[in-house]
């Protein structure tokens, strides 16, 4: 495998592994916990490094994941004292823990592989140089770690799909049925922590947030089904990873940052063009509603005067200004809309209702 192919593979697998727990974070409105956890796992790594003495020990992963859970617990403890609100609690706990980690690194671990720039930027470009040989295979470490994380995430979500779904959409029903909300909450947080540790090594802490939140948020605008949201998130995550890689290559820039940018661009596209929920279709719906309302007004007006002595006068096109305060342009557009819909007919500057138009007006008036 060439280095560039390996990097793309790692990027894709990392993005997918992050997007899976991210779906539940977005749905449970806990997106900012990923920000907190992805920062504080660094403290876990540093403390684990002091204990074990090696940066590449596999024990650092559980240590770091544990620190993620400690962050969640500390934040909740702070909320429970009722001294501060939830947002402030998050905003106090994780910068403090992250600062301790950064200071510890710069004082006691500066010579080692841990350096603070790598923490934020990630070192995806160098991932192929850090290799792991086992069972006669020779693979990049990041690829092995992230593949294992991805498999674990898939297995956990598949195994507890029903429970996660219920706890996410109807927490009180889940609790009534005997599913412990605390267990599910901490289980999910553990998944986020482990994923963040693995991904953080490859792509840096801030990008973990981008990969966890942005593809699921975009997927949330595209579907109403959890299973489809998971699949679409995976697709968007992979697309962000590949686009980001080639963007980085083209600009000779940091891969992690480019992947975040790509995921943001994809989100923007979805936000604008998503069928039904995108800004474009929202705007279009608003315009259509406007003309439909005008059409209804017009048919009711015509129905009122139909067959009366004043009909010839009231149903003239240029009379609409008197009666409805419609500007000539607006009136013309409204009449064209109604003509297209087949509710109104025009002949010689006088408007007539069609059978459909009469039906529409009657139906709207009896509402």
């Amino acid at each position: 495998m060439s280095a560039s192919l390996e990097i793309q593979l790692i990027a894709m697998i990392t993005a997918i592994a992050c997007a899976l727990p991210g779906v539940f974070l977005v749905l449970r409105r806990m997106a900012m916990m990923s920000d907190a956890i992805s920062h504080t796992v660094l403290l876990g790594i540093v403390l684990g490094f002091f204990l074990v003495g090696r940066v590449d020990s596999p024990w650092l992963i559980p240590a770091a994941a544990l620190m993620g859970l400690v962050t969640v617990a500390l934040t909740e403890l702070l909320i429970r004292t009722r001294l501060v609100k939830e947002d402030a609690a998050i905003g106090i706990v994780f910068p403090a823990l992250f600062s301790i980690a950064v200071i510890l690194i710069s004082r006691y671990a500066s010579g080692v592989h841990l350096d603070t720039d790598a923490v934020l930027l990630g070192e995806l470009a160098f991932a192929p140089f850090d290799r792991l040989a086992f069972w006669g295979l020779d693979l990049p470490r990041g690829l092995v770690v992230m593949s294992a994380t991805l498999l674990a995430n898939i297995a956990l979500i598949a195994l507890f799909y029903k429970e996660l779904k219920l706890a996410t959409f109807d927490a009180s029903l889940a609790a009534t049925l005997g599913l412990s909300p605390v267990l599910i909450h901490y289980g999910l947080m553990a998944m986020v922590s482990v994923t963040a540790v693995g991904a953080f090594d490859v792509v840096g802490s801030i990008l973990v947030v981008a990969l966890m939140i942005t593809p699921p948020a975009a997927a949330y605008l595209l579907t109403d089904r959890l299973s489809r949201m998971l699949l679409i998130s995976v697709g968007l995550a992979a697309a962000s990873a590949l686009t980001g890689f080639w963007l980085a290559r083209w600009l000779d820039a940091n891969i992690a940052g480019s992947m975040a940018t790509a995921s943001g661009l994809l989100f923007l596209l979805v936000m604008l063009f998503a069928p039904g929920r995108g800004l474009l279709s929202l705007a279009r719906r608003r315009v259509r509603l406007k003309w439909e309302f005008a059409q209804t007004m017009l048919t009711i007006h015509l129905l009122n005067h139909e067959g009366t002595a004043a009909a010839e006068m009231e149903c003239r096109v240029d009379h609409l200004w008197e009666h409805m305060r419609w500007q000539p342009d607006f009136a013309e557009n409204a009449i064209r809309f109604a003509e297209r819909k087949g509710t109104v007919r025009r002949s010689g500057g006088i408007l007539f209702l069609t059978a459909e138009g009469r039906a529409l007006a009657r139906q709207e008036m009896t509402h």
């Binding site: 106090i92 992250f98 200071i103 947030v209 942005t214």
Partner: protein
Amino acid sequence: MDFFLQLFFDYTVRTVALGAAVLGLTSGALGTFAVLRRQSLLGDAMSHAALPGVVLAFMLTGSKSPLVLMLGAAAAGILGTLLMLAITRFTRIKEDSGLGIILSVFFGFGLMLLTFLQRSPAANQAGLNTFLFGQAATLLERDVVAMAGLGGLALLVTVLFWKEFKLLSFDRDFGQSLGFPMTLLDILLTTLLVIAIVIGLQAVGVVLMSAMIVAPAAAARQWTDRLGIMVVLSAFFGALAGISGALISSLERGLSTGPVVVLAISLLVLVAFLFAGNRGLAWQWLQRRRRRRRLQLETVLSNMLKLAEQHEDLRHPHHVAVLRAMDYGRGGVLRTLAVLAERGDVVRVGEDTWSLTEKGIREARASGPRSTGDGRAGG
């Protein structure tokens, strides 16, 4: 002593301390409103979103003048905030996800631009890196002047719109009904918050600047219930943490300022959470214990009265075991009796028997029915 002399005469140290004081003062004062309005994490998103603004401002102008970079940062911060509002307003995505998207995507975009600059040989981008974790030691006099100018402006506007901002923070709807342009005021206050963040970026860095918005205000909140005092206290805490953090970090090579400042302010938060009067955890604990003690005294006294009322003589002695039974075996009855004896409410009559005094009877009647047991239980 040498250290303090150096403090006053060393140009670098003085500049650094002044700069840190300005940043702490501004972010502390304006952070108060963010925390009260539950927008703590908006500060986090804004400060991350500022990074591409800094880099783009440098790319477009080629200048590293503080005002240019700060304006770029502010523009990006405001754009990020507007986008976040658009996402939560026009789609069904909630605030937390909106913040996460803006924070990470803008920061990622900033990193992309920064590394793009670093690898292009022509540009002299050295120094932009310090915007990640901050480096107070790199502050020059012109930086501090720019910071003080912007910060002073922001604080002046806050004072001018004091009443309106107070209304916005506590009862927006009431303000609206009085005819104040609440949306405009909201935009103004958010802009001021962006300014406060931008001022601190060079010294504290985009990653940890958000803590300077949240933490001083969270600490100040514990000490007071009045907005005016809270703003002043928060500004003071911010400045204190800023100065101490900046000085400590400039004494040592390779130590970024951001983390040290954040640790300093976190310490202040911890002290406030534990020891602040009225709200602090230690104070709460003491209150609870005092309440529990008083309740116990009153209960035992009242139980004794109830027993005594079964007899001709109200000073009829009672056995401890009976009082214990009436107290549902909660324990501490003997200790409570000792305290009551000290106050002159009861006297020890025999080995294990106690009786009420005149004073005790009066007090038991005054404190009302609070006995735990049914009077007929004893005898």
